[in-house]
């Protein structure tokens, strides 16, 4: 049964064989498959078309975009939108900030998550129930926006890089994924290591950690995407423009009808961007999303794995 499930998993998520039942088709089955394929193709196109439209627009000229000529292929091909993206004040800086927040934040996340997941995965941990409750309760109830904000203010992280790294350093949901994974490491290994006098800490570094490669990559990806896309903490806790992540600058550009005059101080930049605001938006959407969307197809199996580990009850 388990090997069957594994074979099916391969069939459904890629590189699998057809099932015998799918080879001989009756007339009604053929009709079913035609209708099914049509519906799936329609949904596929509905998801794909806006993405292509954005991409095509970003490679067009400003006048083609403004007059609404671009549909699915660039009109008057140009990369001027991309040139202008980095003229916009703050884009470079915030891009760098986001890369930093993503790398540092993810490192903190993964470490803290593993620190919590390992002891809680051990069946022989005294008071385990109490600690599990301590963690899971925070999934269901929280202090809310204002009490949290006041605590941040009190410990002095407002307007520092820590505001982007510390709140949310641990996602209990991801911790449970990690814990479930570690619980499935065969007990025999633990027994054997223990008999040889291996300490709890050493068991973690020498056995549990090396066996958790898949799970750690899943965690890393989940946290990294979260940091890359994070908006709310910066919105609430930062007001120093030099610390802003990309998403805040994106909001400034994407959601303004006209590019804000106060952000652009010098006349040259303003002139360079005149009439370009919509082309700039398309290019910026691509620049901001490209790193994740380009990497994702190669890492897809890890993301999928994460959802499946998470759906198991721990």
């Amino acid at each position: 049964m388990v090997t069957q499930t594994k074979a099916n998993m391969k069939r459904l998520f890629g590189k699998g064989q057809l099932q015998a039942t799918d080879i001989y088709l009756t007339r009604s089955d053929r009709i079913f498959h035609v209708i099914n394929n049509i519906i799936v193709s329609l949904l596929f196109l509905i998801v794909l078309l806006p993405l292509i439209n954005v991409l095509a627009s970003s490679f067009s000229s400003a006048s083609a975009v403004n007059s609404g000529k671009v549909l699915l292929w660039p009109v008057d091909f140009s990369v001027i939108g991309y040139e202008k993206v980095f003229v916009y004040p703050g884009v470079w800086r915030s891009y760098g900030n986001t890369v930093f927040y993503t790398v540092a934040g993810t490192a903190i996340n993964v470490i803290v998550t593993l620190l919590a997941a390992y002891p809680l995965s051990r069946r022989d941990l005294p008071f385990k129930g109490f600690f599990m409750f301590l963690f899971t309760f925070t999934m269901m109830f929280g202090g809310g926006m204002i009490p949290t904000y006041l605590v941040m203010k009190q410990i002095g992280v407002i307007n520092t890089v820590w505001a982007m790294l510390l709140p949310g350093a641990l996602s209990v949901y991801n911790m449970i994924i990690a814990r479930t994974f570690m619980q499935n490491i065969p007990m025999d290994l633990f027994e054997a290591a223990h008999l040889d006098g291996c300490s709890d800490a050493r068991y973690f570094t020498m056995i549990a950690l090396p066996l958790s490669g898949t799970m750690i990559s899943v965690l890393t990806l989940y946290y990294a995407v979260g940091h890359w896309n994070a908006y709310f903490n910066a919105f609430l806790y930062l007001n120093n423009r030099d610390l802003m992540p990309l998403q805040i600058i994106l909001r400034e550009v994407l959601l303004s009808t006209q590019i804000s005059a106060d952000a652009i101080v010098d006349g040259d930049t303003a002139a360079a961007l005149a009439g370009m605001s919509d082309l700039l938006k398309y290019s910026l959407i691509v620049v901001a999303s490209a790193p994740i969307l380009c990497l994702y197809p190669f890492l897809q199996k890890y993301f999928v794995k994460g959802v499946m580990i998470g759906s198991l009850k721990g």
């Binding site: 009604s28 089955d29 596929f44 993405l51 925070t138 202090g143 006041l150 410990i155 709890d200 999928v304």
Partner: protein
């Protein structure tokens, strides 16, 4: 177990150990827990203690603990407020609408993908439809704005294609009637593919011999979906549904706030955005009132989750806790 192991290690017979002794032996594990627990205390439990701000009249000068205790005053103020019906109604409308339209679609889509014969085609559809999940909320709202632009957006183009080139498409972004549709349908666009993963994984547990048996008995592919595939994923579907019901008050801040403008506020002001404005808009700055509204929201949310969990335990024998 632990006793036996300790006996084997030390060669002495150990009679009984209190849990404290065992805990002392596992001191390294508690050292691991130290940082995560300190994190929880500072970033989760300390703010929880601050929830009492909702029962006080907060003055910055006096701090949370020193401000005057006013009991249920802030809650009564909210319940009798003109905005109470609007923000609760909008929150419920958006989440019920998302639930009713957005919940069944991934189930159907997963069954359809599962039935596809072309493995390559399925893989391509999966890869592309998972993609929007990774787009950030800000970019998502940016894309919505560009697509719905009456002049050059895709929507404007299709509108003119259907209604004649001279027609002027309405600006949906400024319409309060269109807001719920924009919010929910864009959410489905973004989440449809990704939400199928959990069902596709559940479908992988379908025993192929059931399909073979059904085929021999003359079942069509469509009948096999209804009677073999679907029953297998019913437990997954029900637990997902329960979770969704549990978060019915949890319309998030980001997307609603970013899609909001003065023209659509009648339908777009939800609890989360209202809380934010009560606390941080310079004209209000009422931390206590905002916290009371937030607390009301999370208590209802907690209650809903507990209720749904209870129902699920009775109905499907699967529950979250």
């Amino acid at each position: 177990m632990a006793v036996k192991r300790a006996e084997a290690r030390t060669g002495r017979v150990i009679h009984r150990k209190s849990i404290w002794m065992k805990a002392a032996q596992r001191w390294q594990l508690y050292l691991f827990l130290l940082i995560p627990v300190v994190y929880l205390i500072i970033f989760c439990y300390w703010p929880m203690a601050g929830v009492q701000i909702a029962f006080r009249k907060y003055k910055i000068r006096l701090g949370i603990w020193g401000s005057q205790w006013v009991g249920w005053y802030q809650f009564e103020k909210f319940f009798s407020s003109y905005y109470f019906g609007r923000v609760v109604g909008n929150t419920l409308r958006l989440s019920l609408y998302s639930l009713i339209v957005g919940f069944p679609l991934p189930v159907v889509f997963a069954l359809q993908l599962n039935a596809m014969r072309a493995a390559r085609g399925r893989k391509l559809v999966q890869t592309v439809t998972y993609m929007p999940h990774f787009i950030s909320t800000v970019v998502m709202v940016g894309i919505i704005n560009q697509m719905l632009n009456p002049t050059f957006g895709l929507f404007g183009k299709f509108y003119r294609m259907i209604n004649g080139m001279g027609s002027t498409p309405p600006n949906l972004l400024l319409s309060s009637g269109a807001f719920p549709h924009i919010y929910v349908l864009s959410g489905i666009w973004q989440g449809l593919g990704w939400s199928t993963i959990i069902y596709t994984a559940a479908l992988s547990a379908v025993d192929p011999s059931l399909h073979e048996a059904a085929t021999i008995d003359g079942a069509t592919r469509f009948q096999r979906i209804l009677h073999v595939d679907f029953p297998t994923i019913v437990p997954t579907v029900s637990i997902t549904l329960i979770l969704r019901f549990g978060s019915i008050m949890g319309i998030g801040f980001d997307k609603t706030y970013l899609l909001q403008n003065n023209a659509n506020l009648v339908t777009s002001e939800v609890i989360a955005t209202f809380v934010y404005k009560q606390a941080f808009d310079s004209s209000n700055m009422d931390y206590s009132y905002a916290s009371a509204i937030g607390l009301f929201n999370s208590v209802i949310g907690l209650f809903m989750l507990a209720l749904m969990n209870q129902i699920s335990r009775k109905v499907s024998e699967s529950s979250l806790w």
